[in-house]
C-alpha cells in the first residue's frame, strides 16, 4: 500500500550528536581547570613539610620533559593514523569488492581487529614482532615505539575500513546507477563519483577515530614506550614517590590531552552539522 512520506514517523531520526547547551572551550575554562587542580591538591598541600619544594615548583621543573613526552604521543598518533588510514582504506575497498573472496577476507580481518581490545593488539605487536628485521645483509631495527605505532595502527585500520564501507553504502544506489548508465567503468564510478562524495561523510568519524587513537597512545606506557605517561611515572619516582604530587601531575597529563582532543571533538561536531545540512 502506498504511504506518504509524512507517514515516516519523526521518532526514527537517528540519535543526534547535538548539544542543547553548547559548552565551548573559552580561555576562562583553562583557569577553571587549573583552579580545580589547585583546589584538589589543598588537602595534600596542607600536610606538606616546609623543607620540600612546593608541588608546583616540582611540576614546573618537570614540565619541559613531560611536554616532550606529549609531543611523542602526538607523533605516535599521527604515524599510527597514517598507517591505519592507508591500510584501512584498502581493506574498506576490499569490503565492497565484487570478488566474493576478497570481500570475505576483508570483512573477517576488519571484524577481527575491531573486536579486539586496543591494549591486546598493542601487546600483540610488542611481544610478537622481532626487535629487528633482517633482509639479506640489511638489518632494520624495530624499536619499541615503532612497534607501538604498528600495534595502534591495527585497530585504526579496522575502524577506517568500517568507515569507508559505511560511507560508500550510505550513498543512495541511484548514484551508482546513474554513473553506470553513463558507461563509466566500476573503477571510474568508484574513484570519480562515489568516493569524492563519501569523503565528506567519512571525515567526522575519521576525526573522531583520531581523537580516540590519541587518547589510546598512553597505552604505550604499559609496554614501556617513553611517552608522556611513562615520563610522568618516572618523574614521580624521581621525586621519591611524594603522594601530594600525584594529583597535580596526573591532572597535568589529563589537561594536555583535553587541550588537544577537545577542539578536535568540537570541530568534528561542527563538520557533522555542516554536512548534515548539505546532504
Amino acid at each position: 500500500m502506498k504511504q506518504k512520506n509524512n507517514n515516516v514517523l519523526p521518532v526514527m531520526m537517528a540519535p543526534r550528536n547535538r548539544q542543547t547547551d553548547p559548552f565551548r572551550l573559552k580561555a576562562w575554562h583553562g583557569v577553571v581547570l587549573a583552579s580545580i587542580v589547585v583546589l584538589a591538591s589543598i588537602p595534600a598541600f596542607a600536610a606538606e613539610e616546609p623543607t620540600r619544594a612546593s608541588m608546583f615548583e616540582v611540576l614546573v621543573r618537570w614540565m619541559p620533559l613531560l611536554l616532550q613526552g606529549f609531543v611523542f604521543n602526538v607523533v605516535i598518533s599521527i604515524s599510527a593514523m597514517a598507517v591505519g588510514t592507508i591500510t584501512g582504506a584498502a581493506l574498506g575497498l576490499g569490503q565492497i569488492s565484487l570478488n566474493g573472496w576478497v570481500r570475505k577476507f576483508a570483512w573477517i580481518t576488519t571484524q577481527f581487529f575491531r573486536n579486539a581490545p586496543w591494549l591486546v593488539l598493542l601487546f600483540f605487536a610488542m611481544f610478537l614482532l622481532p626487535f629487528e628485521i633482517k633482509i639479506g645483509s640489511l638489518i632494520i631495527p624495530l624499536p619499541d615505539w615503532l612497534k607501538a605505532i604498528f600495534g595502534l595502527s591495527l585497530p585504526v585500520m579496522a575502524n577506517v575500513s568500517e568507515i569507508v564501507r559505511g560511507g560508500v553504502i550510505s550513498l543512495p544506489s541511484g548514484q551508482w546507477e546513474a554513473a553506470e548508465s553513463l558507461a563509466f567503468s566500476r573503477t571510474q564510478v568508484l574513484w570519480r563519483i562515489i568516493l569524492p562524495q563519501c569523503v565528506k561523510r567519512m571525515l567526522p568519524p575519521w576525526m573522531n577515530l583520531y581523537s580516540i587513537l590519541t587518547m589510546a597512545t598512553v597505552l604505550a606506557s604499559i609496554v614501556g614506550v617513553s611517552e608522556m605517561m611513562t615520563l610522568t611515572g618516572q618523574a614521580l619516582a624521581a621525586e621519591g614517590g611524594r603522594t601530594d604530587l600525584l594529583i597535580p601531575f596526573y591532572s597535568f597529563v589529563l589537561l594536555m590531552f583535553f587541550i588537544y582532543c577537545y577542539p578536535i571533538a568540537r570541530w568534528t561536531i561542527r563538520l557533522e552539522k555542516k554536512f548534515a545540512v548539505i546532504n
Binding site: Q3, K4, L9
Partner: protein, 248 residues
C-alpha cells in the same frame, strides 16, 4: 452552578491567546450545544487550530473563558485529566504510539487512565475497530498502516475514552487524497450518532454536509458564522467571500 444538558457543552467567551508577543486569538466567542457539529474554517495561520487546542488545555489561555460542561478551563487549579476524559482529540499527524499495535493504541488510555477492566476494554476496542472499518488490522503497528487507516485508529483511540466532545484538528490535511474519504466517512457516522464535534477543516463540501454551524476565522477573530447553507451561499463579509472564492 451545575451544568445541565440544555446549556452549551462548550462555551467560549472572549478568548485571547498569545505566543509571546504574537497574539493569535483576539477575542473569540462561540457556543457548542450537545450533539451539535461545528466546523471552523479559515486561512492558514488564522488561529483555528490554536482555538480547539485551547479547549482541552493543550494550549493555555491568557484571557477569557472556556466552559466545558460548565467547567472552567482557564483555571490554574484545573484538573486537566478530568477535562481530557470528557474531551477527545484527533490530530493532523495522527500521533499514534508507534510501539503499540492498533488494538493496544486504543486500549492504552482506558486501561491506564480510566483503570477499566482489561477484558471489557478489549471488547470495546474491537467494537471500535469494527466501527471505523479496520477489522483485521487489530495487530498491525501504525507503521504498517496507511495514513487514512492510522487516522481512523486515532479516532477509535479517542472514542475509547467515551468522550462527550470530540475535537478534530485538520485530520485529513496530511492524507493522500484517496484515503481522505474513509476518514470523513468515519467522522460523519460519528456525527450522525449524535457526538458533539468541533472540526477544523479545509474540506468545504464536507463541512457543508455535516456541520450544524460554520465559523469563519481570520487573523484571530471570527469574521462570520452561520448555518452552512446561509454561510456558503450568502456570505456577507468581503473576507469570507474572498476566501470562499479561492477555495470553491
Amino acid at each position: 452552578m451545575a451544568w445541565s444538558e440544555d446549556q452549551p457543552m462548550v462555551s467560549i467567551k472572549d478568548l485571547h491567546k498569545s505566543f509571546g508577543a504574537l497574539e493569535v486569538l483576539k477575542g473569540i466567542s462561540m457556543d457548542v450545544m450537545k450533539g451539535e457539529v461545528v466546523c471552523i474554517i479559515g486561512p492558514s495561520g488564522s488561529g483555528k487550530s490554536t482555538l480547539i487546542r485551547c479547549v482541552n488545555a493543550l494550549n493555555d489561555i491568557q484571557q477569557g473563558s472556556i466552559l466545558v460542561e460548565g467547567q472552567e478551563v482557564n483555571d490554574h487549579n484545573l484538573d486537566k485529566l478530568e477535562l481530557r476524559k470528557k474531551v477527545g482529540m484527533v490530530f493532523q499527524q495522527y500521533n499514534l504510539f508507534p510501539h503499540k499495535t492498533a488494538l493496544e493504541n486504543i486500549m492504552m488510555a482506558p486501561l491506564l487512565v480510566l483503570k477499566q477492566d482489561k477484558a471489557e476494554v478489549e471488547k470495546l476496542a474491537r467494537q471500535l475497530i469494527k466501527k471505523v472499518r479496520l477489522e483485521g488490522k487489530e495487530e498491525s503497528y501504525p507503521g504498517e498502516l496507511s495514513g487514512g487507516q492510522q487516522q481512523r485508529v486515532a479516532i477509535a483511540r479517542s472514542l475509547a475514552m467515551n468522550p462527550d466532545v470530540m475535537l478534530f484538528d485538520e485530520v485529513t490535511a496530511a492524507l493522500d487524497p484517496e484515503t481522505v474519504n474513509e476518514v470523513l466517512l468515519a467522522i460523519k457516522e460519528l456525527a450522525q450518532d449524535g457526538m458533539t464535534c468541533m472540526l477544523v477543516t479545509h474540506e468545504m463540501a464536507f463541512a457543508r454536509e455535516i456541520a450544524d454551524h460554520i465559523y469563519f476565522t481570520d487573523r484571530g477573530v471570527i469574521v462570520e458564522h452561520g448555518p452552512p447553507d446561509t454561510f456558503f451561499d450568502d456570505a456577507k463579509d468581503p473576507r469570507t467571500v474572498e476566501f470562499l472564492g479561492q477555495i470553491l
